[in-house]
């Protein structure tokens, strides 16, 4: 069934693409199967990430970018990530409300996804959905995520170009100097630039941006509802995409590192859950019979033995 759906998705069938995304969301085994099948396929879709704090106007900017790209006859896919309630598991996915005028455009495909507030901020399978979309006959894939810092670092591994959206009066130069947020983006946008304070925000930002890998990240001031102000942003995105290729290997390295650590994380959690000695060690540490460094080393030794045992069995 997956084979057939993939064939249809590759030829631009959006019902098939939509169904495949659902499979990736639902089923972790089939998810891997899909990725293994498509990984070697030529990926023509370039992935662009829009990130930044809630309310700065990411969705509205994407709406303008969509109308600019679609007027050039380009096919664009959009993935909108919104948070999921940690209490009820429910969510309101409301990003697409800003771009509903494109809902019936045959060149545009928009899909909303909810994500749990895990440390990475992005559902682990968002990269798989992006990978799938990159072979689905689309020219560009835009992903919108809330958040910054660590999350933006994570996202930047899977995207060709990362756009960080800010707005005036978000904080002074000390905020801008904080690590994380400003070190990952390829293009900076100060949206709502018609609000007083945009020039000062730009000045703070400019002091804290450095040239990386031969690319000086530009700062672009936009006004979300004014299409003319968004055209320079689209031009810069295209310019960056045309120069990006050289950093691809580096990003793959970052991605593999993250995925490997995730894998170890899951392995470790499973090991602790099934380890009968764990509660005993907790007792020892809580009564100060053992210090926590020794306890951690002992646990790791046990894990190593278990992995070796598994190896022999296989």
């Amino acid at each position: 069934m997956i084979e057939k759906l993939l064939e249809r998705a590759k030829s631009g069938d959006r019902v098939a693409l939509s169904k495949l995304i659902t499979i990736i969301e639902k089923n972790s085994e089939k998810r891997k199967e899909i990725i293994k099948r498509i990984f070697a396929c030529p990926a023509q879709g370039k992935i662009i990430c829009f990130t930044g704090p809630p309310g700065v106007g990411k969705s509205t900017l994407i709406d303008q970018v969509l109308s600019i790209l679609s007027s050039e006859g380009k096919k664009v896919g959009v993935i909108l990530v919104d948070p999921r309630s940690p209490f009820t598991g429910g969510s309101i996915l409301g990003d697409r409300i800003r771009m509903q005028r494109h809902a019936t455009n045959p060149n545009i495909f928009i899909r909303s996804i909810s994500c749990a507030k895990n440390p990475e901020g992005v559902s682990r399978y968002v990269k798989d959905i992006l990978k799938l979309m990159s072979i689905a006959g689309l020219d560009y894939i835009i992903v919108e995520t809330v958040g910054a810092g660590q999350i933006a670092v994570e996202v930047s591994h899977i995207c060709h170009t990362t756009v960080l959206v800010l707005m005036p009066n978000m904080g002074d130069d000390i905020q801008m100097m904080k690590a994380g947020i400003l070190e990952t983006a390829d293009i900076y946008v100060i949206n709502k630039a018609d609000i007083q304070g945009a020039d000062l925000t730009e000045a703070y930002l400019r002091d804290n941006i450095e040239k990386r890998d031969g690319w000086m990240p530009p700062i672009i001031k936009t006004v979300g509802y004014n299409k003319a102000t968004v055209i320079p942003l689209v031009e810069k995105i295209k310019e960056h995409l045309s120069k990006e290729v050289c950093r691809y290997r580096e990003k793959v390295k970052g991605l593999l590192k993250t995925m490997f650590l995730e894998y170890l994380d899951e392995l470790g959690l499973r090991f602790l859950e099934n380890n009968s000695n764990f509660e005993k060690i907790v007792d020892d540490v809580s009564t100060c019979k053992k210090d926590y460094y020794t306890a951690t080393e002992e646990l790791f030794d046990m894990l190593k033995k278990e992995v070796l045992k598994d190896d022999k069995r296989n």
Partner: protein, 128 residues
């Protein structure tokens, strides 16, 4: 996997309080709600339902044009061979309920409906 529900208002009416209250109740009940807001055409609703691969469509209309608008949504779903159940709400006179049900709409929630009742019926509809 959380069930996904599209909540949309069709036609030229801006009364979105009801749709927003229902959307929030469904979120609190653990559903994933895709909210498209006001002034949607039937074509936008159906295209969105396809792209979002939802399990249920909720339509709201308070303008009085619910019969032709909802009918068009049901026709488009049929034309595209999309089998997603539909429920609706709004200022709908009791006499219209049988007409809407005949179109294939599963449940109709008029003014005064309780959220508890809506959530319960929605659970039944997505379970089928």
């Amino acid at each position: 996997m959380r069930k996904r529900i599209l909540v949309a208002k069709v036609g030229l009416d801006g009364h979105d309080r009801g749709a927003k209250v229902v959307a929030r109740a469904l979120k609190n009940a653990g559903f994933e709600v895709i909210y498209t807001g006001i002034r949607q055409s039937p074509e936008q609703v159906v295209e969105t339902a396809i792209q979002e691969d939802v399990d249920l469509i909720g339509l709201s209309c308070l303008s009085g044009a619910h019969i032709p608008l909802f009918r068009r949504v049901m026709e488009l779903l049929k034309e595209k061979n999309i089998k997603i159940p539909v429920f609706c709400g709004g200022t709908i006179p009791p006499d219209d309920i049988p007409i809407l049900k005949k179109m294939g709409i599963k449940e109709v929630f008029g003014p005064g409906s309780s959220l508890k009742d809506i959530v319960e019926k929605v659970r039944e509809m997505v379970a089928k």
